[in-house]
């Protein structure tokens, strides 16, 4: 069965013409879906002088075949609409993308490559991208990857576009692998010290268990199990803790940053670190509060520490930091500084896609 949503609109040629014009004039473009994630942009990216190019109207689910586990949608399609149609077939986007707003679009979701609590167990946004159509910085419309699970023809441009924040091209449509939604989900909670919580998460991750999220905050370790009724029941017996009610709300609030932890005037940092890192003393080292997600591989930190100090700390753990929401602090760089070699590669790759540097320049990194 092939499902195609009604009310679709294809404005590829309009978008391509706008990029072509800008390329001819050397005008800088600011690509926007619904701007639900614009807070991630670098502060010195000057939106005021840039010409807006919006994908909002480029809408519609182009193709959805539940039996093939593939969905293709235009970049302006609302994430909500995609999730609704998937849910109607008991399927889901397994990277559990945060939306940060009702109007969030698929294009912005993939351009920012954000993944929710399920990420360590089922994979990230880029893991599910199978193909894209896009417009590069010359206004050329191109397609990479496709709608099949396995495709190694040519360089993996589809995944390179994922997380590039529109600096390499404007996404027109994206084909995603989707997964069956679990039959049931339950969450267990345990009251543990940070040291014990860390040990517990490491121990559980080394066993074959249907865990789909592990998060720790305020002395509570929350463990979500997903699968068939029998699987979840049998696994729950092996793990200490009590079932919590309304656990969907809890995970929604973690994912969408609506949990009380995120209500802070301080800057919000995201530290992506190796799963078994010792984050136990982070609140004293970086003078702030933290919420642990991804079974220990992701730390949300509210703190007014200097960016240099946070970047240095993340580096010592073998990971990297990102100034996710600026609060009152300002930083030249919102992401962990690149090594000179990596910076050079970023510039060269940017140039290969966008030779005049007109697509979201400086938005991801001040020099790219």
């Amino acid at each position: 069965m092939i499902l195609i949503a009604a009310g679709t609109k294809d404005i590829t040629s309009k978008l391509a013409n706008q990029v072509k014009q800008a390329y001819a004039n050397g005008a800088v473009l600011n690509i926007r879906g619904s701007a639900t994630k614009s807070f991630l942009a670098n502060s010195d990216h000057d939106k005021n002088t840039a010409e807006l190019i919006t994908t909002r109207e480029h809408q519609g689910i182009v193709n959805y075949e539940p039996g093939e586990l593939v969905l293709t949608a235009r970049s302006g399609t609302r994430l909500n609409d995609i999730q609704k149609i998937l849910a109607s077939k008991n399927q889901m986007l397994a990277f559990e993308p945060p939306a940060y707003g009702e109007q969030a679009t698929l294009g912005g979701t993939i351009a920012c490559a954000l993944s929710g609590p399920r990420r360590p167990y089922t994979g990230s946004a880029r893991d599910y991208v199978l193909g894209v159509h896009m417009i590069n910085g010359r206004g050329e419309v191109m397609g990479f990857g496709g709608q099949v699970m396995k495709n190694v023809a040519g360089y993996d441009v589809s995944r390179l576009m994922t997380g590039a924040m529109g600096t390499l091209g404007l996404l027109l449509d994206i084909s995603l692998k989707v997964l069956p939604a679990p039959e049931t989900e339950k969450t267990l909670v345990q009251d543990l010290s940070p040291t014990d919580a860390r040990k517990c998460m490491i121990k559980l991750a080394r066993q074959y268990l249907p865990i789909s999220a592990m998060s720790y905050t305020d002395r509570f370790l929350n463990i979500r199990l997903s699968g068939t009724q029998a699987t979840v029941a049998a696994s729950a017996e092996k793990i200490d803790g009590e079932f919590i009610h309304k656990h969907e709300t809890f995970w929604h609030d973690i994912r969408e940053q609506q949990h009380p932890f995120f209500k802070s005037d301080k800057a919000l940092w995201r530290l992506s670190i190796p799963a078994a890192s010792d984050w136990v003393d982070i609140e004293t080292k970086l003078d702030g509060d933290c919420l642990i997600d991804w079974g220990g591989a992701l730390v949300w930190l509210t703190s007014n520490e200097t960016p240099e100090k946070v970047f240095a700390y993340a580096k010592t753990l073998g990971g990297h930091a990102r100034l996710f929401r600026q609060g009152n602090s300002r930083s030249d760089s919102r992401i962990q500084p690149f090594s000179p070699g990596l910076l050079s590669w970023h510039k060269k790759i940017k140039h290969a896609f966008d030779p005049k540097g007109i697509l979201n320049p400086g938005l991801m990194h001040k020099d790219v």
Binding site: G146, N151, V152, A153, P180, G318, L342
Partner: protein, 486 residues
């Protein structure tokens, strides 16, 4: 050998001990091809460096003398990606074969590129962990080659390809700089260069260290063999299983000729009169495997399966798999040579594609056995031929090319896991338009300005596509019409 080439080799001799530098024809011979033996070429020289520093020195020397470099792991690749270049250096990374670090708490291992795929799982088995991608050559193939080709395997439907199972790479760039891509964490700032490098077939950098992700071993595995007298029903069963919310660890389909060949060879107990068999592996925890086995059994019967066998124990599971795992050599016994294709298709197109392949088989008068990673639509038609019969290889290649073009026509791809290499370079002109190919070349130029890393592989020149296009005019439409023709 030109004077410049002799000078280059003289300079190389100062970098490596004499036994790790091969120049005489007899020593070069084992390196003339990879797993695709239809293409053979002796390199100018083979170098076997023992560490990153030596590789850096070699690459800098190649830059100076403008000598192209082809990197080789275990040489098991099936698309000619490691085919040497006549005037080039073959960089053999077999000596970089150490597992550097195993971190069971992070569930990662840091390994050198020459480590065999299976050796990783063996080394971490004591921790209850394993490395998931399992190409059929896993006993011999190297992890560096797996990354270069983005290798898959029978379990990729559930556990993904190489790109989904690695965290970090150390690479040496075309300029001889060491670059770390990715990190020990689950993601990295900036562009996803890890994805760009994976499957780039040695054209963008030389992979010298890999950090792989490890998974806990499942509690239980079960294998079902399902027999069909109609391939359409088998395809339907695959869709029904997936639509029911089950992602099997493996889902393999074999057609009559493949079943017969495997049974004659390995005596796995396959029904030789079946039109198609489906091998289904389910893994997970004990109740999950039980639930799914029951459900799959029911669904297959509803889809018209004539028999469903559930392996009674591990021994029987191994026996059922043995036929599939031996399918290639088994088919190989039916003819002096066989040619293995690697297209992917949307699964719903399977009956149509199989029908058209069998029509083409009659047209070319060459038998074809089909083995299919049914879950993810990756088809491996094996064309049987005899290279000693004049013209048969050419005929086989033409037939293979048409199968790949058929895959593109139904919305699939020319390669699912073997890579483009030299073998499918012409089909790249069918898969992509000039704009995309130009974009690939722009990426290549960005990473390798002088074009010294494995030139001529993976991405065809526009000129090549134009010449080829002139030979394949479809419906009067000339492919790549914007190009000049000569």
């Amino acid at each position: 050998m030109t004077p410049a080439q002799s000078e280059f080799i003289k300079a190389l001799q100062t970098l490596l001990p004499v036994n790790f530098l091969l120049t005489d024809e007899e020593s070069l011979r084992p390196y003339e091809c990879d797993g695709l033996s239809a293409y053979k070429q002796l390199p100018l020289v083979v170098a076997l460096p023992g560490n990153q520093e030596e590789i850096i020195s070699i690459i800098k020397l190649c830059q100076k003398f403008k000598i192209p470099v082809t990197t080789r792991g275990a040489g098991t690749g099936l698309s000619g990606g490691a085919l040497p270049l006549e005037n080039g250096l073959l960089l053999n990374l077999a000596r970089l074969n150490k597992i550097l670090d195993i971190n069971p708490d992070d569930r990662t291992a840091r390994v050198q590129p020459g480590v065999r795929n299976l050796a990783i799982s063996e080394a971490v088995s004591g921790h209850g962990l394993y490395y998931a991608p399992d190409p059929s050559s896993q006993i011999a193939c190297s992890i560096g080659g797996n990354v270069a080709e983005n290798a898959g395997g029978v379990h990729s439907l559930k556990y993904g390809l190489t790109v989904h199972n690695i965290l970090k790479l150390e690479i040496i760039t075309a300029e001889g700089e060491l670059l770390t891509i990715g990190s020990q964490a689950l993601d990295s700032p900036g562009y996803d260069l890890l994805a760009l490098m994976t499957g780039s077939e040695g054209l963008l950098g030389i992979i010298t260290e890999i950090t792989v992700k490890l998974l806990p071993k499942p509690e239980l595995t079960q294998v079902l063999l399902v027999v069909f007298d109609d391939v359409i029903n088998a395809g339907k069963a695959v869709s029904e299983i997936i639509s029911a919310g089950i992602i099997p660890a493996g889902l393999e389909l074999m057609d009559t000729l493949a079943i017969k060949a495997a049974e004659d060879f390995i005596h796995a107990g396959y029904p030789v009169d079946a039109t198609a068999i489906l091998l289904c592996e389910i893994d997970g925890n004990i109740p999950e495997v039980g639930d799914h086995t029951k459900k799959i059994h029911e669904l297959c019967l509803q889809c018209g399966a004539t028999e469903v066998r559930i392996a009674a124990d591990e021994k029987e599971q191994k026996k059922l798999w043995a036929g599939r795992k031996a399918a290639f050599p088994a088919v190989g016994r039916l003819a002096p040579d066989y040619y293995c294709m690697d297209g992917t298709i949307p699964r719903r197109c399977l009956p149509e594609v199989l029908k058209r392949i069998s029509e083409m088989a009659e047209e070319y008068d060459l038998p074809v056995a089909n083995v299919f990673h049914a879950g993810d639509g990756n088809l491996h038609p094996l064309i049987l031929y005899d290279a000693n019969v004049t013209g048969q290889l050419e005929k086989t290649e033409q037939f293979g090319g048409r199968i790949l073009e058929l895959c593109v026509e139904v919305g699939g791809a020319i390669t699912g896991e073997h890579g483009v290499g030299i073998e499918k370079i012409d089909q790249m002109c069918v898969q992509f338009q000039s704009l995309e190919l130009s974009q690939f070349h722009a990426i290549k130029d960005a990473c390798d300005e002088q074009g010294l890393l494995n030139p001529g592989k993976a991405v065809p020149t526009l000129h090549r596509c134009a010449e080829l296009g002139a030979m394949h005019v479809h419906d009067g439409k000339l492919p790549h019409p914007e190009l000049e023709r000569f």
